[in-house]
C-alpha cells in the first residue's frame, strides 16, 4: 500500500490547477466581466425607470433628462429595455454552454477511454450533427415548434456539443498512455473512476477554453435568432430583438440599436476572454514541457 502511494505521487503529474488558470489576467477579467454583467442583468429590472413594454413618448426621441437613452421605434424607453433585455440570455446562454460542455466532455471521455467501436460509433454520430449548420437547424425547428426557450437551449446544445466532444477527446487521447493511467488500469481501478479521477482533472484547461468559447457562442446564436425573428418574440425586451427593431432608425436615434449592441459585446467578450486566457496557460505549460 505504501508503495502504491509513493508511485502515485511520483508518476501522477499535478494537473494544471485552477489557481494557475486564475493567475491569467484574461481569465480574471473575463470572470469579472461576466459576474458584473450577470449582476447588472439581475438587478436591471429593479433599476429600470419605466415599464420596458409601455410607450413613454414619441418614437425615436433623442436622449434627454426624461429618457437617458431616448426612445425606440414604438416610443418605449431604451434604457429600461436595455436593463431588462438580458434576462433570457442570462439563463439560456450559461445553461446551453454548461450542458453542451458537460455532455460533450462525458461523450468524449467515454469514447477516448473505451476506444474501439464505442469510440467509432460515438464520434461518427457526432459527425452527422456537425454536418448541419447550427443556425439552419435552429431556424427549421423553431419554425416548426415555435420559439420556446427550452427548445432553443436544446438546439444550441445539439449544435455546440459535437465540437466540444472533438476537442476534449483529442486532449484525453494522449493521456491514455501515461504511466498513472496505465498504473490505475493495472491495479484494476474501475473505468468510471479512471475517467473521473485521472482523465477529467487533466483536461481542465481545455475544458475551461471550451466553456468560455461556447458561452460566447451561445450568446451569439441566441441573440442572432432573436435578431432574425426566430428567438425571443416581441413585445418582450431582448437585446438581439432590439437591434433588429431599431436597425432602420440608426440614422435618427442610434442609441436604440447601439445600446443593446454594447451589452451583447460585453457579454460575449467575457466568455472569450476566459477562453483566450486558458488557451495561453495551456500554450505556456506545453512550451515548458
Amino acid at each position: 500500500m505504501e508503495l502504491t502511494v509513493v508511485l502515485r505521487r511520483r508518476f501522477r503529474p499535478r494537473p494544471v490547477g485552477w489557481w494557475r488558470l486564475w493567475a491569467s489576467v484574461q481569465v480574471r477579467w473575463g470572470v469579472v466581466l461576466l459576474v458584473a454583467m450577470t449582476a447588472l442583468i439581475a438587478i436591471g429590472p429593479l433599476l429600470a425607470p419605466y415599464d420596458p413594454a409601455a410607450p413613454v413618448g414619441r418614437p425615436y426621441v433623442s436622449p434627454s433628462a426624461d429618457a437617458w437613452l431616448g426612445t425606440d421605434n414604438l416610443g418605449r424607453d431604451v434604457l429600461s429595455r436595455v436593463l431588462c433585455g438580458g434576462v433570457y440570455l442570462a439563463w439560456m446562454a450559461p445553461i446551453s454552454a454548461l450542458l453542451s460542455v458537460t455532455i460533450g466532455t462525458a461523450i468524449a471521455l467515454v469514447a477516448a477511454y473505451r476506444g474501439g467501436w464505442v469510440d467509432l460509433a460515438l464520434m461518427r454520430s457526432l459527425d452527422v450533427l456537425l454536418a448541419f449548420p447550427g443556425v439552419l437547424l435552429t431556424l427549421l425547428c423553431v419554425s416548426v415548434f415555435g420559439p420556446q426557450p427550452l427548445l432553443l437551449v436544446g438546439l444550441i446544445v445539439l449544435t455546440l456539443m459535437p465540437g466540444v466532444a472533438r476537442v476534449i477527446r483529442g486532449a484525453a487521447l494522449p493521456l491514455l498512455n501515461r504511466e498513472y493511467v496505465l498504473w490505475a488500469k493495472a491495479v484494476g481501478t474501475p473505468g468510471l473512476v479512471i475517467i473521473l479521477r485521472e482523465l477529467l482533472p487533466n483536461v481542465s484547461s481545455p475544458l475551461l477554453v471550451e466553456l468560455g468559447l461556447r458561452l460566447s457562442w451561445s450568446v451569439g446564436i441566441l441573440s442572432s435568432m432573436s435578431f432574425i425573428g426566430y428567438g425571443i418574440q416581441p413585445p418582450a425586451a431582448d437585446w438581439g430583438l432590439m437591434v433588429s427593431e431599431n436597425g432602420s432608425g440608426l440614422g435618427a436615434q442610434p442609441f436604440a440599436a447601439l445600446a443593446p449592441i454594447v451589452m451583447i459585446v460585453f457579454y460575449t467578450i467575457g466568455g472569450s476572454l476566459i477562453a483566450e486566457g486558458a488557451a495561453r496557460v495551456i500554450a505556456r505549460t506545453e512550451g515548458k514541457a
Binding site: 447550427g134 427549421l140 442610434p254
Partner: protein, 335 residues
C-alpha cells in the same frame, strides 16, 4: 514506419490520404440523405394546411381536396419523400407555393448572389489575412501585435449581426453616408452591377474571417522564424524580405488553406443572418422569406443547398488538413 522505396512511400501516402476520404465521402452521402429526410419531415411538420393557405378561407372542401391531390399531399409520407427526392435528382425542384415560380429559378438567382458575396469576401480575406498575420508576427508582443490580438478576440466573439450593424452605423447612417444600408439588387441583375451594395455585407463577412485566419498565419510565421534553417539564413546574412517571401510565407500559407475552407463553410452556414441584415437577395434571405410564407418546396430546396455546400466545404477542409498531416508524417518517417 519503415518504407522500402520512395515509390512505395508515395503510393502509401496517397492511399493513407485518399482512403479515409473515401469513407468520409460515403458517410457524407448518407449524412446528406439523412439531412434531406430531416428537412422533408420538418417542412411537412410546419403548422397550417398548405391547400388552405393557397386557396384562402373561401375555398370549398372539394376544391381543397382537388388541390391536395394535385400537389400529391394525399399520398403516404414516404411516397411524397421519394417523389421529392427523385424530382431533385432529375433537376425538377417543384414550384413555389407562394408565387408559382419554379423553385430552380429562385434557387439559381439566390445561389448566384450568395456565391458572389462569399466569393468576393474570400478573395479579399485570404491575401489580407496573410498580410495582417505577417505584420503581427513581425511586431510580435509589440503594440501592433497586442492591438491585433485584442481586436481579433472581439471580432471573433461578437455575432455577425453586431459587426454588420456597427458597420451600417459607421458607413451608412449615423456617422457617414457613403454606402447603402440595404443591398438593393433587382432580381435578374448581377451583384457586380451594384458594387456599393456588395461592400458592407462583404466586409461583415471579411472582418471575423481575417481576424481568425491572420492569427493562424501569425503563429505559423513565428514558428517558422524560430526554426534552424531560418536562423541559419539570418546568420548567412540573407536579406529579411527574401527570408520572409521565399521561406517564411510559403510555410505560413499551408496551415491557413484548410482553415480557409472551414471559414468558407461557416460563411455559408451563417449566410442567413448577414443576408437578412442587409436584405441581400441570396439563398439566406430567400430561406427566411420561405419560412415566413410556409413555402415548402422553396424551404426544402434552400436548406438542402446550404447544407450540401456547408458539408462539401467541411469535407474539403478535412481533406486538406489530412493531406498536411500525411505529408508531415511522411516527411518525418523519411528524415
Amino acid at each position: 514506419m519503415s518504407v522500402d522505396s520512395p515509390n512505395d512511400s508515395a503510393v502509401i501516402g496517397v492511399l493513407a490520404w485518399a482512403w479515409p476520404l473515401l469513407g468520409r465521402l460515403m458517410q457524407g452521402v448518407l449524412t446528406l440523405l439523412a439531412v434531406s429526410l430531416l428537412i422533408f419531415l420538418a417542412a411537412r411538420a410546419l403548422p397550417g394546411d398548405v391547400a388552405n393557405m393557397i386557396l384562402g378561407q373561401s375555398a370549398t372542401q372539394d376544391q381543397l381536396a382537388a388541390l391536395r391531390t394535385q400537389l400529391g399531399l394525399d399520398q403516404p409520407l414516404w411516397w411524397q419523400y421519394l417523389t421529392w427526392l427523385g424530382g431533385i435528382l432529375h433537376g425538377d425542384w417543384g414550384v413555389s407555393l407562394a408565387n408559382g415560380q419554379p423553385v430552380a429559378e429562385i434557387l439559381t438567382l439566390g445561389v448566384r448572389n450568395s456565391a458572389t458575396l462569399s466569393g468576393v469576401a474570400l478573395a479579399v480575406m485570404l491575401p489580407l489575412s496573410l498580410l495582417v498575420g505577417v505584420i503581427a508576427a513581425q511586431f510580435r508582443d509589440g503594440f501592433v501585435d497586442r492591438l491585433f490580438l485584442g481586436m481579433s478576440m472581439v471580432a471573433n466573439a461578437v455575432p455577425d449581426f453586431v459587426t454588420g450593424t456597427v458597420l451600417v452605423a459607421l458607413f451608412a447612417t449615423t456617422v457617414l453616408h457613403v454606402l447603402p444600408a440595404v443591398s438593393f439588387i433587382p432580381p435578374g441583375d448581377s451583384p457586380f452591377s451594384y458594387p456599393d451594395a456588395l461592400v458592407l455585407p462583404a466586409i461583415t463577412v471579411i472582418i471575423p474571417g481575417v481576424m481568425y485566419l491572420a492569427r493562424l498565419v501569425r503563429v505559423a510565421v513565428i514558428d517558422v522564424m524560430a526554426t534552424e534553417y531560418i536562423q541559419t539564413a539570418i546568420l548567412k546574412g540573407m536579406s529579411p524580405s527574401r527570408i520572409l517571401f521565399r521561406h517564411a510565407l510559403p510555410n505560413a500559407v499551408a496551415p491557413i488553406i484548410p482553415a480557409a475552407s472551414l471559414v468558407a463553410a461557416f460563411t455559408v452556414g451563417g449566410v442567413v443572418v448577414v443576408e437578412y441584415l442587409f436584405a441581400y437577395p441570396g439563398i439566406g434571405s430567400a430561406l427566411v422569406d420561405a419560412v415566413t410564407n410556409r413555402d415548402l418546396p422553396v424551404i426544402q430546396a434552400n436548406v438542402l443547398v446550404i447544407a450540401s455546400a456547408y458539408f462539401i466545404l467541411n469535407l474539403i477542409a478535412d481533406a486538406l488538413a489530412q493531406r498536411d498531416d500525411a505529408s508531415t508524417q511522411q516527411g518525418r518517417s523519411q528524415a
